[in-house]
Structure formats: C-alpha cells, structure tokens
Symmetry: C2
Subunit: 416 residues, 2 copies
Amino acid sequence: MAHSASNLQINSDRLWGTIHETAQFGATPKGGVRRLTLGPEDQKVRDWFRAACEAAGCTVHVDTLGTLYAIRPGRDMTMDPVGLGSHLDTQPTGGKFDGILGTLSALEVVRTLNDAGITTDAPLCIIDWTNEEGSRFAPAMMASAAYAGDFTTEDILSRRDADGISVGEALDAIGYRGKEAVGAVKLQNFVELHIEQGPILEAEGKTIGVVEHGQGVIWYDGVVTGFAGHAGATPMPLRRDGLAALSEVVLAVEALATALGPNAVGTIGEAVISHPSRNVVPGDLAFTLDLRSADAGVLDRLDEAVREKIAAIATRRNVAVELTQVWRKLPTHFNGKLVDAVETATRALGYSHRRITSGAGHDACNLANVMPAAMIFVPCKDGVSHNELEDATQADCTAGANVLLHTVLSLAGIAD
Amino acid sequence: MAHSASNLQINSDRLWGTIHETAQFGATPKGGVRRLTLGPEDQKVRDWFRAACEAAGCTVHVDTLGTLYAIRPGRDMTMDPVGLGSHLDTQPTGGKFDGILGTLSALEVVRTLNDAGITTDAPLCIIDWTNEEGSRFAPAMMASAAYAGDFTTEDILSRRDADGISVGEALDAIGYRGKEAVGAVKLQNFVELHIEQGPILEAEGKTIGVVEHGQGVIWYDGVVTGFAGHAGATPMPLRRDGLAALSEVVLAVEALATALGPNAVGTIGEAVISHPSRNVVPGDLAFTLDLRSADAGVLDRLDEAVREKIAAIATRRNVAVELTQVWRKLPTHFNGKLVDAVETATRALGYSHRRITSGAGHDACNLANVMPAAMIFVPCKDGVSHNELEDATQADCTAGANVLLHTVLSLAGIAD
C-alpha cells in the first residue's frame, strides 16, 4: 500500500471534467461563472457536490451557516479529520477556478484514494465554505470566520444582501440551513488548494506556490471634499480640485508601497466623482484604499506613511480627505510543519515551486488562527481572477491536486 | 430726455420679483430650477415671458428653432434692432440666475424705458435663445449657433434627446416651432448680461466684469487601457494601473495649464473606472479633458504640451491612452467698440469693475462671429453655477441690469 500511495496521482481528466461540468451552474456567455452564494445556482452546485461526495462514500454534514463537511472515514475514527477544500461560490462575473479548483480537487483526492483502495489513518473532511466571496453578503469568508470564532453564528445569520434578504432566509430558501453547530465538526488541520490570483508564478515559470503567509489587510473608505467649479471660469490658482488631490494620493500610495516593497502593496480600486461633468472641476469624490503586507510591521509603517501623506496633501490643497477604516486583518503565518509538508510533497512530485505570500484573503487564513493550516497555489493565466477570463491549465490544476493529495496523505497518515 | 436717460436706473425690486416669480417654473426643493429646454416647464416660462413682453409693448416673433424675439419699436424702424437677452432654460439641477438674469434684465430694460417714456432711435429686440444649456439636446447654444450659420436649421431640428424625441417634435409639443426663418430677425449687435459662473469678481470685490474675450475650448474624450489585477496578489512592479496613469495625467494637465496661466485652464472633469472594485487594481478608465484659453496660441501650446505629456506617461507606464477630440472652438474676441460701451456705462454708473474673460461659452460668443457683440458679468456666490446653490445678490443683479440699460441706450441711441 505504501508503494502504491507514493506513486499515486489524481485522475487529471476526471478533475478537469468536474471543473467543467459544475461550471454549467451559473455559466456566463463569456465562459465564466456567476454563482452568488446561497442563490439558486449555488443550490444546484451544492446538490451536485453533496451527491458526488456521498457517492464517494462520504457522510455529509451541513452546519447552520450552510457549510458542507463531507467526511471520509479513517482507520482511526477517534482522530479529528484532516480538512481539505475551499468554496464553490463565485464573484458576480467570476471564473471557473477561484475556490472551485480547491473544492473539486478535494473531491478528486477522495475519489483517487477510493480507486486505489487506500484508507488513511485519520478521517478526511472535504469542505465547501459558505460565502467566501462576500459579493452578496458581507463580510467575505464569513463562514470560516465564524468557524474560527471571529463572529457569532447569529450575527452572520442576520447579515442582509442588497435586496434585504438575510443569510438565514437565503439558507432556508435553498434548504441549506444545516443542523450542525458551526465549529461542531472538528478538524485537526486544513489544507486549501487555490489559483494564485496574481502573476508571480506565471512570470517566474513555477508550477506550485508553497504559501507561507497571508497578507495583512487594512481597508479604508475615503471621501475627498474639494469644491466644484466651472471648468472654464475657475482659474487654476483658485481651484480646490478633488480629483487632483486624489491623484496625488494615488501616486503617493503607489510610491510608498513600492518603497516598502517587495512585501507591501497599496491600491485605490474605486474612485467616484460626485456629479461628474465634462466642464466642471471635480469637487467631491469617494474612494477606497487597500493596504497589504505579510509583515505586520511593514503594514503599520505603510498605513502610517499613507495617512501622513494624505493629511499633507489635503492641507496643501485646502481640501478635506477623510478616511474611515472598514477592515483590519493581521497577517497570516501558515503553520511551519504544514508548509513544509506541502513543500515536501511538491519536491517528491518533481514540480518547480517557490515559497509565496497570498495576496488575497482565503478561508485558510481564518482557520490558521485556530488550527494548523496551509495553502497550495497554482498559476492562473495573466494573474487574472474575479473575472470571466480567469483561466488555468489542466496540467497546473492537476499538479496542484497531486500536491494536495500527497500533503493530505502525509498529514492523515497511511498504515503500512 | 437726455438728462432723465443719463440718470435712469432699472427697477431693482421689479427685476428681483420677476427672477423669483419665474423661478417657480421648474422650482426644485433645494431652491434651484429644473427647466430643461422645450419641456413643459420651459413652455410655462416661455408663455409667461411672451405675455410679459407683449404687455410691455413688444411684438414677439418666434423662429423655427423656438427662439423668441420681442421687438420694441424704435424711432427709426429702418435700423436693425439692438439685441439684448440670454436664455431661460436651465441645467437639470440648475439655479435661478444662469441665463435668466440676462433675459429678464432685458425685459426690465424695456419696462424701465416704458416707465420713463423713452423711445430709442433703433428698435430693441429682447431674445430668449432656445437650448443654451445643451443638457437635453446637443450641442449647447444650438439656436444661436444656427443663427450664426454654424449649423443648418434642419440639422438642429433633427437632433434627439435621450428619449429619442427630436428638437422638431419637442418644439411642436409645446407649440413653439415658430414661423420666422432662423436669422430672419436681423440684429445690428447683441449684448448679454450673465452671472460670471466663476469666482474672480467675488474674489476681487468687483461688481461688473467687462467681458473682452471668450475662451477657446478643446474637448477630448479619453480612454486609458491598463490591466486590472488583484489588489493583494499583484506586486507593485508588475502593475499596469490605469488610475495611477490617469493620476499623472490629471497632475500634468494641472501643472501645464498653471504654467501657461493665467490665461489657460485645463480640467479632467469625468473619470470612470471600468468595473471598479475595492480589491482590484484599476485597469481601464474613461475620462474627459477640457482645455481652454482666450489666446489661440496659448491654447495650441497647452494642447500640444498635454498630448506630449500624456504620450510619455503612457509609454513609461506601459498603458494605452487614447484621445478623441470631440470639440474645438476658437477663442471669441468681443467687439472693441461694444466692450468700450459696456465699460463707459459701468464707469458712468460708478460700479467697480475689471476686464474679464468668459470661461464658459455663451450665445453671445456665437453671435460675435457674425455681428458686434458684448457681455456684462456680475458676481455669483462662491463662483457656483450649474447648481441649485447658484446665487447672486440683488444689488449685483441690479448693477448688471443698469449697465445693460445704459449700454443698450448708447448703442440704440436716444434723440435729444
């Protein structure tokens, strides 16, 4: 059995087939997926996934936030299961891989073990976390955050979407308000395979990213209050141009994050002029600011430097710039032993790799606060994600699933 | 008669009363006016205005584009009338003064002459130009442009609003498609009183702006094509951030216009990120660029410098920036004799004043291409216009109307 396990590979075409089969649930004309959490398309993929897990011999539990736990028995049922999975919901115009690759690869791991007749010492638990994306209900990654104790179940159940529908109502509507208390399904650890959602692996020609850290994040909502004026009639020296002020802020954020790099990024992703008009000097704007680093000290220095610079710009230009912090998350440091396990599996399989930091947030980052956790990245085309153009090769997806398989085997153990 | 004319003043309270009486036609809760050209509110103010002009002894002609010409007979009806007026349409959230002050002051001039029993040598012609604002139908100032021969009447009649209604249909709907051919009512000259729509007079404490020039204008539509990426997962050096590129453009336009000032302005009034998201590096944006100067040479230099700088920014940042010129208007130079007449009237009335350039476009700018024309500016609060907060004092409005009165008297002549 040990011999066969060490040479084991997942079934690449079967994995690729499930990715494309489930992509029909919310398929978009441009080849992407629109599967908002707890909507009818999510219900369909959940039904498919539950049936597939049961067919693969798993017992499926659903918690009160709708998270699915499909347990494959181990030799020693007194051990907590090894968790593996991700999420099946998508962005409004999302792709076929974000979250989906990790969840369906977890299913493929179980199917592969079934085909090989391998039983692990510890049970396995394939997980589909509810609402990773956060597009319909805030916050993103809410189910894993509740699992990790960051929110109460009641709090999350009461969150409402733009139409006023609560998480609880949405769960009831699709029949996925489960009986298990959140956190009742215990795990000894958690491993998540995911597309990188960035350009680094592709740029460096690496197949596997061994994820060491998740970046800390600070989010601000910003408002610039300048003064609108007629574009023809307002001399340059008398202007209080909100867009010009924000332009300085954009360039300052870029310069400061670059100077504190490579382990820092800063982004102004949204900037909306109030009452824009071709012949009006912009007065007021709303914008967002996203600061990240895997190093808490660097993140603090970036945050402080950006705020100081913004204050100086506002004073010099006689405009007001107000920042409201809407989220602050400390960096994630994935468990050293699990990271090593991922790297060992990668080396054994012969894939090129590098250690990497996750720029995005993931369910595994929440779980890392309460259990050993790790992540495996594979490249995605042009680093594009949260987009219908999101793409990844069958070879890279297969490599990632193989690393997941062997990482899980090393964690769950196989009796010789 | 000469003695009484030289001391003549308009009836300040009557003028102020008409401004507030007509502001009910399209009054907004915030104290502004919403009176889109050729809509039901415009019909109401036109009906009011026509009746008031007829009651003041004028004969009202309507041309095929709906422009109203109210002719007050002169002593010598072989002379072409002296034109005075502006427009009664407003922006969608406009104020009580833009255009309205000039039109109702023209009526007040006639009422004042009636009260004083003064007949001018030349006839007077009070004008309400159709669609100065351009909010419902493009282009702005279309009726005066057609009068000046820049467009055919048929072309303008065929222009459609966002609901697909043509100018011709809108004129028919409110009963203002008149019988006079555009241009059939001849004028010897035209004088327009208007609020400044900028902050200069207020900032300098001047009551009257003697307008010498109207700025030339170049409008571009711009598109930035960068590359969107995950805000967390895309390292700073690998970004092609469209918003950062546009920020450099905004600051370059500001710096170049300032350097070429005081007789140059440049504005990016609209900037819209495609698919904005808090955690996505902006890829593509659309923006507008507005460049103005009263000096054609300065305008050309500004235009060239801005385009060179934009090309350099695009190359350095590896993004594309495309500019499409959508409008180019040469500077207006108002007739020297008429400008002097405005200044002479202002001095005789004892008002503080300065020569000024019109930053905005006006019907008088179109007419200046085909006849002597002049403009009189009065301050508006904080330079604000195209806004429900638009405001001007009764004293300043009265001063402007008095300057209009005496300018018109000097142009039309009074038999001693």
